[in-house]
């Protein structure tokens, strides 16, 4: 369903977001992407929706190499993936119903169908009575549910939830994860980026672990985990930081020219840090 093949992302100032990351997720699978803040979980999501392009490697969604998509087709690609953003990304002056209906509206779905679909997903996430409220009137857990509802409204093949339990108390987090598990049970491939180990413990599934942009563990590959330990990576990174990273620089220069949108969105180190988070 999703394949990352030796994907590297170096930001224009040489900061490495992901380094040589390869993994595969099958249809209907639930996969946790874990790692500390700044490990590259969100970068992975942003690469998947082609918010920016990788410096090297290939990314497949189904049989489609998404890097071969012309820029004008990227919006259509994004409609195939339901994304639950870490900060929800709900439009404040639209009601929950309108927020959930947004993608269908963009797709030009008839109004009657929009009403039906949105009502269904709001019912699924338990917000059927909150459709007319604005985001500011909802709690954190409800906002998260609203974001999930919006991501589900097109019945996407793939759902990527970025830190869906990050700002929530344990009980609400459990509720959200139950919901994501239910969605997976319907046959949707679900990727959950999280650093919350309780979630993985309560809803066990395959996980991959990122550390400073490097994939250090894939729970599926028992006994054949990568020989790079976290300590080794830290040491390597320290050594690298004392030497000028020539190749990184040239790569980033190349990227500067090829990806203007990327340049626009990753100008400051602070933004890059956010992207990696």
């Amino acid at each position: 369903m999703v394949r990352f093949i030796e994907v590297t992302k170096v930001f224009p100032n040489g900061y490495i977001g992901l380094e040589n990351v390869s993994f595969e997720v099958g249809p209907g699978e639930l996969l946790y992407i874990t790692g500390e803040s700044g490990a590259g979980k969100t970068t992975l999501m942003r690469l998947l929706i082609r918010e920016f392009d990788p410096t090297a490697g290939e990314i497949f969604l189904g049989e489609q190499n998404i890097l071969h998509l012309p820029r004008k087709n990227v919006p259509y690609h994004r409609r195939r993936i339901g994304v639950v953003f870490q900060d929800y990304q709900l439009i404040p002056d639209r009601t929950i119903f309108e927020n959930a209906a947004l993608i269908l509206e963009i797709m030009g779905t008839p109004l009657k169908q929009i009403r039906q679909r949105v009502a269904d997903v709001l019912d699924l996430v338990g917000l059927s009575d909150k459709g007319l409220l604005f985001p500011v009137q909802l709690s954190g857990g409800e906002l998260q549910r609203a974001a999930i509802a919006r991501s589900l409204v097109t019945a996407p093949e793939l759902l990527f939830a970025d830190e869906p339990t990050g700002n929530l108390d344990a009980e609400t987090a459990h509720g959200i994860m139950s919901l994501l598990k239910k969605i997976q049970d319907f046959g949707t491939t679900v990727l959950v980026a999280t650093h919350d180990h309780d979630v993985i413990h309560d809803f066990p599934a395959r996980f991959i672990e990122l550390h400073q942009g490097i994939l250090v563990k894939d729970s599926q590959n028992k006994g054949q985990e990568k020989d790079k330990s976290v300590e080794n990576i830290d040491k390597e990174k320290e050594n690298k930081s004392t030497k000028p990273a020539k190749s990184d620089k040239s790569q980033s220069d190349k990227e500067d020219k090829s990806d203007t949108e990327n340049k626009e969105e990753s100008e400051s180190p602070k933004q890059e840090k956010n992207a990696r988070d």
Partner: protein, 289 residues
């Protein structure tokens, strides 16, 4: 349809911005329509004078009828003269009476012997008027020669001046309108930056995001151009009797409604294109399409 709804919603939420954009377009098109009607009218008046080239020679009151007839015959022999009409003192009195039919006091004061006899000479071309005037000035008993070349020259001068000043003023207003619509659309886009970003992240095309802003610019144009046309038409209809009374036999008013509708169509199209262009500039700049 969605784009129109979004644009109307946006206008309703910030009515003062929308009002200022529509007003500046209203002013621009009010000047535009007025200028077009003025130039159209001037052209018609010029055409009227140019199609009736005439020289009028006024003679002293003591000039005899025989002398006048001799002058008439002499002029009729000239090849570029089309016709020569003799207006005797009695004819002049009759014309005067007709013109002052509503004022008997004025009629009582004037008698035939104080009015000058005259010869009205028409030529095929307005360019021959000067030669006829020169010939008439050398005639015995001539008092004054009046010919339309003066009127035409004067009219042409004023028409040219109005055209030049009008176009200059109109250009300034068109540029101002364009800048105001660009500014207001840019403000709208800036205030919706977050919404725009979310839309792009969930799969909206740039065209989908741009459309409401473009429609909004076109709506400003539509409202501004339609309202200014309405006002110009009302003012024109209101002042028609006065202007027509002043113009006399030059049939200029009322303006044909078909012409006014064509003017509305052209104005609205131009205004909407102006709004669209302004919207495109601001959205292109902000989205870096």
């Amino acid at each position: 349809m969605r784009a129109i709804k979004q644009a109307v919603k946006s206008i309703r939420r910030s009515p003062y911005q929308a009002l200022s954009a529509s007003l500046v377009l209203f002013l621009t098109f009010f000047i535009g329509y007025s200028l077009i009607l003025l130039l159209f009218g001037s052209a018609k008046i010029l055409q009227y004078f140019e199609s009736r080239p005439q020289v009028t020679g006024f003679f002293n009151q003591d000039t005899t009828l025989e002398q006048l007839q001799a002058h008439q015959t002499a002029l009729q022999q000239v090849e570029y003269v089309e016709s020569v009409d003799l207006v005797t003192q009695e004819d002049a009195l009759e014309i005067y009476r007709l013109q002052t039919i509503n004022d008997p006091t004025l009629q009582e004061l004037v008698t035939a012997d104080i009015l000058p006899p005259s010869l009205e000479v028409s030529t095929a071309s307005i360019n021959d008027l000067a030669k006829v005037a020169e010939t008439m000035r050398s005639m015995q008993g001539i008092d004054e020669v009046v010919y339309q070349q003066d009127v035409v020259d004067s009219l042409r001068y004023w028409t040219d001046t109005i055209r030049q000043v009008g176009i200059a003023v109109l250009s300034v207003f068109v540029i101002t309108s364009l800048l105001v619509v660009i500014l207001i659309t840019s403000m709208r886009i800036a205030s919706k930056k977050y919404e725009t970003r979310v839309m792009r992240l969930v799969g909206a095309t740039k065209w989908y995001i741009m459309r409401p802003f473009l429609v909004e610019g076109m709506l400003y144009g539509l409202v501004g151009a339609s309202l200014s046309w309405g006002l110009v038409y009302v003012l024109l209809m209101y002042s028609t009797p006065t202007i027509q009374g002043f113009l006399g036999e030059i049939k200029l008013l009322p303006v044909d409604p078909i012409y006014m509708l064509a003017l509305l169509g052209a104005g609205v199209t131009l205004a909407m294109l102006l709004g669209l262009f302004a919207g495109l500039i601001s959205t292109r700049r902000l989205f870096r399409v």
